[in-house]
């Protein structure tokens, strides 16, 4: 039954020779026609302090504090970090640990707020006129608002806006590809809030000081392409809206840059090295809100989808809303889901506890039925090469897997393990259903551990050697000192002896004289 809709995705003439990327069944129709709805304030808000890449934020509220909507509750710590704000007014009932929205389910530092239902705004950030503001002021405002990359990678946006200080930037690419199946939150946002997004794009362009702005949208979103083409100017910028092929992983930063500019980002370099910066459409929308209205990032659009979800929808939820409440808002489950995911089906994280909160990077809640998920039976590799053909990075996943299974981690690293994006194309396309991505995650972790142990051993050795050298130097100095002292003593003794001898010699004739005198 899952075979039929997939047949439509089979015909891609460009792929008769080589694939590069995959065409998973998009299944976006489940939620693509549902308008964004605003979910009411939930009964509980949980804000993990780590919702972004970089250092954990530092809580500045305590238990029993009353917080207002938009009030800063945790401050960015260090250069790569992000502020966290209270999404609604209420009382802080705990600053402690709660289960992470992550497959590990480990407890992470979390601020828990019980909303009072008033949803009362505190003082907002000062509004700005981006037309008159300097780039520094704009990125400071974005940093203050706690905005992170909302496509899922959650890199603090202000840090990326500040790249102009170090690189010659000329192009801003707005990523509206949304290549993950099922997800429609960016699509809906573009269709419904195009004007606001366009303004946000213009503001980011100004902050970066770029000349060109490109908005990239996958070809399967004709309405979004249409509306973004109409709202294509803001702040003296006219953006180009470019249609990119519907193919996973089109939204990968470096691949998007290559398809739009033809330039390939060197390994271990940034797209900024080519003068290009990529931001997500939802990030642009958040920037608009932060700069024009002084609103920090306290909500986001989440796609609720999957065949096990009763009413697939696009919901605007407050950051920190428990997943279970979002699902209940959408009518609960149609059937018990086989897997519950945060994010898309290709790279999303399965969660086991439904009370975990929505975080800034969570773009979807997918309740997948048994029919939608891969089976658990694994067959041996038949060397079909589909993983090699689909790998967007040009790796040989089956070979890396074989090496890792044989405990040859260095061999796997040598053939490119560290270049792997873990995009999941190989495991998606593997007919043997081999858990390739899981193996690569494992090997990367193991290599990192090995590296740190090696580093530690080297450090220990270096310190031990330094200490030995230091001790030797001290001993040598002592010995030198002793020798010097000894030499001095000897010189003294010699001098004394000589003196004594000279005195004796001087005394002798005198003695003889006296003797002679006595003899005569």
């Amino acid at each position: 039954m899952s075979l039929l809709p997939s047949l439509s995705t089979l015909l891609h003439p460009s792929q008769f020779f080589s694939f590069k990327g995959v065409h998973p069944d998009p299944r976006k129709y489940l939620s693509s026609e549902s308008e964004i709805e605003v979910m009411p304030v939930p009964t509980l808000i949980r804000l993990p302090l780590q919702q972004h890449i970089g250092a954990e934020a530092e809580p500045i509220v305590a238990r029993d504090d009353y917080v207002l909507k938009g009030q800063l509750v945790a401050k960015a710590r260090g250069p790569v970090s992000a502020n966290i704000h209270a999404p609604t007014s209420g009382r802080v009932i705990a600053v402690g640990h709660f289960i992470a929205p992550h497959p590990s389910g480990l407890p992470v530092p979390t601020i828990t707020i019980r909303p009072d239902g008033e949803d009362k705004w505190g003082p907002r950030l000062p509004r700005m006129r981006p037309e008159d503001a300097t780039p520094e002021e704009i990125s400071a405002q974005v940093a203050e608002a706690g905005i992170v990359g909302m496509g899922g990678a959650t890199f603090p946006s202000a840090v990326k806006l500040n790249l102009r200080a170090k690189y010659d930037l000329h192009t801003l690419i707005i990523n509206g590809a949304e290549c993950e199946p099922y997800l429609t939150c960016d699509d809906r946002l573009m269709r419904e809030r195009a004007e606001e997004i366009a303004d946000g794009i213009g503001i980011m362009g100004r902050a970066l000081g770029v000349k060109n702005i490109i908005v990239a949208i996958e070809s399967n979103k004709p309405q979004a392409i249409d509306v973004m083409s109409r709202y294509n100017r803001a702040l003296d910028y006219v953006f180009q809206v470019k249609v990119v092929p519907t193919q996973y992983p089109m939204g990968s930063e470096k691949h998007l840059v290559r398809i739009l500019t033809g330039k390939e980002t060197p390994a271990r370099a940034l797209t900024a090295d080519l003068g290009v910066v990529v931001h997500n459409v939802a990030t642009a929308h958040a920037v608009h809100n932060a700069v024009r209205y002084g609103e920090p990032l306290i909500s986001r659009i989440v796609t609720v989808s999957g065949r096990a979800a009763k009413r697939p929808a696009n919901v605007k939820v407050l950051i920190g809303t428990p997943v279970s409440e979002v699902i209940n808002h959408c009518g609960g489950f149609a059937e018990e889901p086989d897997r519950l995911l945060l994010g898309g089906p290709m790279m999303g994280q399965p969660i086991h506890n439904r009370r975990v909160p929505i975080v800034k990077g969570a773009n979807g809640i997918l309740a997948l039925s048994k029919a939608e998920t891969p089976g658990s039976d694994v067959m041996p590799c038949i060397r079909c090469g589909r993983c090699v053909q689909s790998c967007p990075v040009g790796l040989t996943p089956f070979e890396m897997n074989a090496r890792i299974q044989a405990d040859d981690l260095d061999g796997a690293a040598k053939i490119g393990l560290m270049d792997c994006l873990t995009c999941g194309c190989c495991a998606y396309t593997c007919p043997g259903n081999i858990p390739l991505v899981q193996t690569f995650h494992f090997a990367k972790g193991k290599l990192a551990e090995k590296q740190s142990r090696k580093h530690q051993a080297e450090e220990t050795k270096r310190l031990a050697e330094a200490r030995k050298a230091r001790e030797e130097a001290i001993a040598e100095a002592k010995r030198q000192m002793m020798l010097k002292r000894k030499a001095e003593m000897e010189a003294k003794k010699k001098a004394a002896a000589e003196k004594a001898a000279a005195e004796a010699a001087a005394a002798e004739p005198m003695a003889q004289q006296t003797q002679g005198e006595a003899n005569s």
Partner: protein, 366 residues
């Protein structure tokens, strides 16, 4: 809450699992097979069933001996496909034990001795064909003309042909296109003199010529192969390079010396060229995985087929060509690797165009 197994992304999967892939290949082979069985009649049908069934039994036996789980592996369809391909390369009136030995060689020696599914170095069907060809040259080169199911020997008579070793069919034996050319050229005839004796192009395209059970119908094999390409089970890299090389070499040779070399169209439509290009050379396990590796492999097979057919002692060289290139696959695999994104072919990062002031880490995805 009980501990659940960690489920890793991706959480969606292609419809083509191992057994669906094998079944798709079998389906693509079906039109040519059904046509071949119809053309060669009951003896071919009996031999086909014997070969496929014995391949399946050998598979289960090998799995049992190796101590592997029989259920999932017996369902993977690979034994069905191997047995099927062995049967397609047998002469239609060969006795039943030739088919059984063939599938035994393919499954036990060529596949399970190397470690089973995915581990074999050589294409099982081609190992079987090559060994049978050398051990049983008479049985393996006795061809019969295709007369159709209803014109050929009857049901009971056919049972005798396949299972009782009745040798009456010698009387109706005829030469395949390639063996005819080989023997005539060897006898000193010129290509121009041989051509009128051969079946015409239309007969070779449709499959109205003597030959192995499943290799005669060029058009149906081509259609099945293209279906596999459309289903993205295989890419065009290997078929095009095999066919292109055979056509190119024979074009050059027959242009230079039209009397001693067969023209390209004859090479492409005779023997098991089409079967090899789309179904045998493209075997996953024994061919290289990268696109360039596939092209090199395909060119190697095409060139060897041409060389063996033209100068070798056998009229048909597909089995030997494929086996020889199978043995080159690990070598090709080692040296022909895809280029990694952002790196040169040697693995160094691409040079950065403009020198930059400082570096700072940034996220991979916006």
């Amino acid at each position: 809450m009980t501990a659940q197994p960690l489920l890793a992304a991706p959480h969606t999967h292609t419809v083509f699992t191992v057994n669906r892939t094998m079944l798709a290949v079998v389906l693509a082979l079906t039109p040519a097979t059904v046509f071949g069985l119809y053309q060669f009649g009951w003896p071919a049908i009996f031999l086909f069933i014997t070969t496929v069934a014995s391949a399946y039994l050998f598979e289960i036996l090998s799995l049992w001996v190796a101590g592997k789980p029989i259920g999932p592996f017996a369902r993977d369809g690979s034994a069905l496909l191997s047995g099927w391909l062995v049967a397609m390369t047998l002469p239609p009136y060969a006795p039943w034990w030739v088919g059984v030995i063939g599938s035994g060689i393919a499954i036990v020696i060529a596949k399970h001795m190397f470690g089973g599914l995915g581990q074999n170095l050589f294409n099982p069907a081609m190992v079987a064909r090559a060994m049978l060809l050398i051990a049983l040259p008479v049985h393996m080169t006795t061809w019969v003309p295709p007369v159709g199911l209803f014109e050929g020997p009857g049901f009971v008579h056919s049972l005798a042909i396949t299972f009782a070793g009745s040798s009456e069919y010698d009387a109706i034996s005829s030469a395949s296109t390639l063996s005819h050319i080989k023997s005539q050229l060897g006898a000193g005839a010129s290509m121009g003199a041989i051509t009128p004796d051969l079946a015409d192009l239309k007969a070779r395209l449709i499959g109205l010529v003597p030959g192995s059970m499943g290799e005669t119908s060029t058009l149906l094999l081509l259609a099945g192969g293209l279906a596999l390409v459309f289903m993205r089970i295989i890419t065009l890299a290997i078929p095009l390079s095999v066919l292109g090389t055979i056509a190119g070499l024979s074009f050059i040779a027959s242009t230079l010396a039209p009397d001693t070399f067969a023209p390209p169209i004859l090479h492409l439509t005779a023997g098991s060229t089409m079967l090899c290009a789309f179904f045998i050379a493209t075997d996953y396990v024994t061919s290289p995985v990268s696109a360039l590796g596939k092209v090199i492999y395909g060119i190697g097979i095409g060139a060897l087929i041409f060389v063996i057919r033209t100068w070798g002692s056998f009229p048909e060289g597909v089995a030997f060509a494929v086996l020889l290139m199978n043995s080159c696959t690990p070598l090709i695999e080692t040296y022909v690797r895809p280029r990694v994104f952002g790196r040169t072919r040697t693995g160094k990062p691409l040079p950065i165009a403009k020198p930059k002031r400082t570096k700072q880490a940034a996220g991979d995805k916006a």
